[in-house]
Assembly symmetry: C2
Homo-oligomer: 288 residues x 2
């Protein structure tokens, strides 16, 4: 049976490390602060927000919630976003997207100060992921996948990696991050012919297509490390499932992340670590 | 023997098409203009500049040359760059890099207005390549490789592509561009184990490592399309050579670009097409 790469110890180690950084900042009079901007009451957003707030508390991060009604007018919404953008006491901004249709999501995304873009959604952050430079922050889920590999001692250098999915929140950025660490990466997507033939060649498989339980035994071989980024509610089984058929994969591969309890549980730790990094950068800039 | 995918007809077709666009702009009182900013007299720069000026003339583009001495001081250099950046009559800027060491190349790169970044070097342009959106312009050599594939009717959708090299000017952007057109792309680099095993799997091979004549028969198989992005002077043979051992490849693959006369001859056409696109966008913005 495969080794199970649980997310909790990864998140715990990150929390310990960054809590200490937060303490040092507080001694300098800096209270690391995350602003959460949410429009409406979507269940996914509420669930992620609860997790982020709990993680923030355990790292010593203060959270300011800006909660706006579903039908908030554009002027009020952009006014609030501009306010946290300019607030020197806010170091990071998490804006839940997609926004309701009457609000211009693209304008909102571009408005966020790259220095506060702890969720890694602005062009500055995405350019940083592509160029491997210190612009903005990496998208949290992509970095969470990498944190798991690092924590469990998987050196990706010289390994073949297959990423299933090419989204901007996970597929493309994780492919770049793997490449920057010297993996040889292939990105598969909906137009890839014979995805299993590609993934079977890989030492590391990142399942990030968002297609629940789509990756079965035919995609896998012995010795692989599988990171399952998917999460969805399986009506039939009445439980959360990932993109991988876990029961099949577990009997074949070397290591696999569970769902729930894998990548998802590391994502908020990454988000919070970015808030502390942002606060640190801002402090260093101001005291230079 | 392989089909030879020459660059000249590709550049010619682009020139015809964009010359017409330039004519239409001129009728509206807009003279598409490229500013070339060069510091010193490096032979590579001079050679590229000559090619760009010739191509610009044939497309109806005016060129302003800003030529500064190798030892120009920082204030003068950045003053000149700012001037063309702000000059409403300049639509595109080509800045030769690397700059001499006493000038901050990173500052210069970031200073260029993304709307005038016809060489595709700013973060805005690179973010656009990564996100597949209309920010800035693609790096010219990467787009030249794609233009050759388009011109010769190669549909990359569903094909396997291997890119050798991960530079920001060619490897990474061409990988993204191939992926956006639905190829399944693997990027090989100096840390890739067994590059030939990767490239032999591919239907399309983009050789862009900058290692002269490094891609021999063991990297190739029947039926492949090979785009050779390399160009260098072979002392022994006393001629220009690409990254591919042309004589070996020609007997194996389906199609291959020659060096010289391949990708390189399309690059200036792409640059000039960007100048006309930039002029068009600026005109549309001003008349909206």
């Amino acid at each position: 049976m495969a080794h199970i790469l649980k997310g909790a110890p990864v998140a715990q180690a990150m929390t310990e490390c960054f809590r200490q950084e937060a303490e040092i900042l507080k001694e300098q009079g800096v209270q690391p602060t995350l602003a959460i901007v949410r429009v409406g009451e979507r269940a996914d957003d509420l669930s992620y927000e609860r997790g982020a707030m709990k993680r923030a508390a355990s790292m010593g991060i203060q959270v300011k919630q800006i909660i706006l009604p579903e039908d908030v007018d554009s002027e009020t919404f952009f006014g609030e976003l501009m306010r946290v953008n300019q607030d020197a006491d806010v170091h990071g901004i998490l804006l839940f997207r997609p926004l309701p249709r009457h609000l211009d999501g693209e304008r909102a995304r571009q408005m966020i100060d790259p220095a506060k873009d702890v969720d890694g959604c602005t062009d500055g952050s995405l350019a940083g992921v592509f160029t491997n430079t210190d612009l903005g922050f990496s998208p949290c889920t992509a970095q969470a996948a990498m944190e798991i590999l690092h924590f469990y001692g998987v050196d990706v250098k010289g390994k073949r990696a297959a990423v299933i999915g090419r989204s901007l929140v996970i597929g493309r950025p994780v492919a770049m991050m793997l490449m920057h660490e010297n993996a040889t990466v292939t990105v598969c997507h909906t137009r890839t012919v014979n995805v299993p033939s590609v993934t079977r060649e890989a030492d590391i498989v990142i399942a990030a297509s968002g297609q629940m339980e789509s990756v079965g035994s035919e995609y896998l071989r012995e010795g692989q490390i599988v990171i399952d980024v998917g999460i969805g509610w399986n009506e039939e089984k009445q439980k959360l499932c990932g993109d991988v058929k876990f029961d099949e994969a577990e009997t074949i591969v070397d290591s696999i992340t569970p769902v729930p309890g894998g990548v998802g549980s590391v994502t908020t730790a990454v988000l919070c670590s970015h808030v502390i990094e942002a606060a640190k950068k801002m402090y260093q800039k101001n005291t230079r």
